[in-house]
């Protein structure tokens, strides 16, 4: 079961690899765009650079896309709904049909992708198979403010949870966050670009221990440090 969960991710990753090397992303037909005529939902790949991305973010994104060319790094696609495949993967954990109704699916949005361009979480994720490291380039928009001029601690926590969770997902299939610990060292100015690094420290049975940090784009400032514990879901147990 869990193997089949990881497989879609790997195939998505494989789709991404050559794309970065062949031509600039916008020129190529995008395999990630699909239109499901029965549900009238378009799953858009949200990690394409858009006009709201700052110069810093674009630069970093291009640097990492270059790294994808030799296959050591992969760009991870991000979806508004977290993909139909993802929902299919979760279906086996839900015994309540309420959660798999189509209208619920179309009304909901994955939290980190539910904002208009530039106002929320502008981010892109990359994964290095050799170093087993996930990197998220993140630019927080105006709707993520906490203290005036700075990112809300909760917004930072959300991105850290997403990035650490992606590391755990790649390592162990469908996972849930059990613990999340964040030490905030320095506040992150609004609309600045930060790099969230994350890696799996160890796996004990169904427990996956992940750690990460948040650094400024130039790596001179350490903004936060975080650790997390994720649990692989047991297909024999229901979530509710």
């Amino acid at each position: 079961m869990l193997r089949s969960c990881a497989a879609p991710l790997r195939s998505l990753g494989a789709l991404r690899g050559p794309r970065g090397g062949a031509c600039p992303p916008l020129c190529e037909p995008r395999p990630a765009l699909r239109s499901f005529s029965s549900e009238k939902v378009i799953y858009k790949d949200f990690s394409i650079p858009n006009p709201s991305w700052s110069k810093d973010l674009r630069l970093l994104f291009d640097q990492f896309m270059k790294k994808c060319e030799d296959g050591s790094w992969k760009c991870l696609p991000l979806y508004k709904h977290g993909s139909l495949q993802r929902i299919q993967d979760f279906k086996t954990f839900f015994h309540d049909p309420k959660f798999t109704k189509e209208d619920v699916m179309t009304q909901t949005r994955l939290f980190t992708s539910s904002f208009e361009e530039g106002l929320g979480f502008e981010h892109a994720m990359f994964y290095n198979d050799v170093e087993k490291r996930t990197v998220c380039l993140f630019q927080g928009g105006l709707y993520l403010e906490g203290m005036p001029g700075f990112l809300h601690g909760g917004a930072i926590a959300t991105m850290i949870d997403s990035t650490l969770g992606m590391s755990a997902l790649i390592a162990g299939g469908i996972v849930m966050t059990a613990n999340l610990n964040i030490n905030f060292k320095r506040p992150i100015p609004l609309c600045s670009v930060v790099v969230i690094n994350s890696q799996v420290d160890k796996v004990e049975g169904r427990k996956i221990f992940v750690s990460g940090n948040v650094q400024s784009a130039d790596e001179k400032t350490l903004h936060s440090e975080a650790t997390g514990l994720f649990i692989q879901l047991d297909p024999d147990k229901s979530l509710t």
Binding site: L144, H152, N179
Partner: protein, 329 residues
């Protein structure tokens, strides 16, 4: 509504005067440490008249559980003890008079910032919440209903959305309890998933205030308390001085002595905007907060020392003491 809240505040103030001796929170009398009492902070936080829209009010998207629990707490605000906190679109509206050090300017001057927990304006789609605060017991209750745009696992709220709700409640509670503003750390143990559209109740308590840090804990559960969604704890620190730190010893510091008007002797004030007279050198580790490298760092060196020209204000009970050197938190 707000007038009623203010009446409650006034009553709390009277009760507070009788109960001034430290009881629940060892190690701190907030009035002495930060120059402002909880009552005065609450009265600043809950304005009598405002044009600002209060988002923490019932609307059509609220589930029946949330509506009825909200009414229960509203009743408690009438009898005293509890206060409903207003919730505006931006923190800038909440914390008036707080001046951040110059140089930490905002990215856009269009005025369309939003506090993260009010980022999704469509009723019922994002964060629906209301926070009630109990000044004398320094605890809060947050009624939280996550909408479909906060989804993580299909049908359930994203862990990050709950983390943000906890952080927001911690922040408001810490501010009113002891002028805490910045989160130093957040530790969350997720137990169960919160279904989208259902009510989660966050019970937040200030455990202690020590070394200018507020230690806060929270249990998030269903209304009937049968399901625990998460347990968390956090540390908040206050912003001590909003003014750029004059001088001194830090070589990288671009702030110069004498920038800004001289600090007057009568400059102790209520609220977050209080100023410290004389020279203030800030300890990195104590505050746990720095601006980024490119910006002038207003909090320059390693120890907060207040020299002798200090005059306590009428509201503080003890003069500000020299803070002992602290090790890195």
């Amino acid at each position: 509504m707000l007038r009623r809240a203010l009446q409650v505040v006034a009553r709390c103030g009277q009760q507070g005067a009788l109960l001034r001796a430290p009881r629940i929170l060892p190690g701190l009398n907030p009035a002495s440490a930060f120059g402002s009492s909880t009552d005065s902070l609450v009265s600043r936080f809950c304005p009598e008249k405002t044009d600002l829209k209060d988002y923490a009010l019932p609307n059509a998207s609220w589930c029946p559980d949330m509506l009825s629990l909200y009414q229960e707490f509203l009743e408690k605000t009438k009898s005293g003890g509890w206060i409903k906190l207003p919730s505006f679109k931006s923190n800038r509206d909440h914390i008036q008079g707080l001046k951040l050090p110059s140089g930490l300017a905002v990215a856009s001057d269009k005025g369309d910032w939003r506090i993260f927990t009010r980022c999704i304006p469509v009723e019922g789609q994002g964060y629906e919440y209301a926070i009630f605060f109990h000044p004398s017991e320094k605890k809060s209750v947050c009624l939280f209903q996550p909408g479909p745009y906060l989804e993580g696992a299909p049908g359930f709220a994203h862990g990050g959305s709950l983390a943000a709700m906890m952080d927001e409640t911690f922040s408001k509670t810490a501010y009113l309890a002891g002028e805490g503003l910045f989160t130093l750390s957040l530790n969350i143990r997720f137990k169960n998933l919160i279904p989208v559209g259902s009510l989660a109740v966050l019970n937040v308590v200030v455990e202690k205030i020590e070394d200018q840090k507020l230690y806060i804990s929270c249990v998030t559960q269903s209304r009937d308390q049968q399901t625990v969604y998460a347990k968390s704890s956090g540390k908040e620190v206050p912003s001590l001085s909003p003014r750029p730190c004059p001088a001194t010893t830090h070589p990288q510091d671009k702030q110069v002595r004498g920038s800004g008007p001289p600090l007057g002797s009568s400059s102790f004030r209520n609220g977050v905007g209080h100023l410290l007279e004389a020279q203030v050198k800030c300890r990195r580790s104590q505050l746990g907060f720095l601006s980024t490298c490119e910006l002038p760092n207003p909090y320059c060196t390693d120890s907060i020392q207040v020299t002798s020209n200090l005059e306590p204000n009428a509201h503080s009970e003890h003069p500000l003491k020299l803070l002992p050197p602290q090790s890195q938190p």
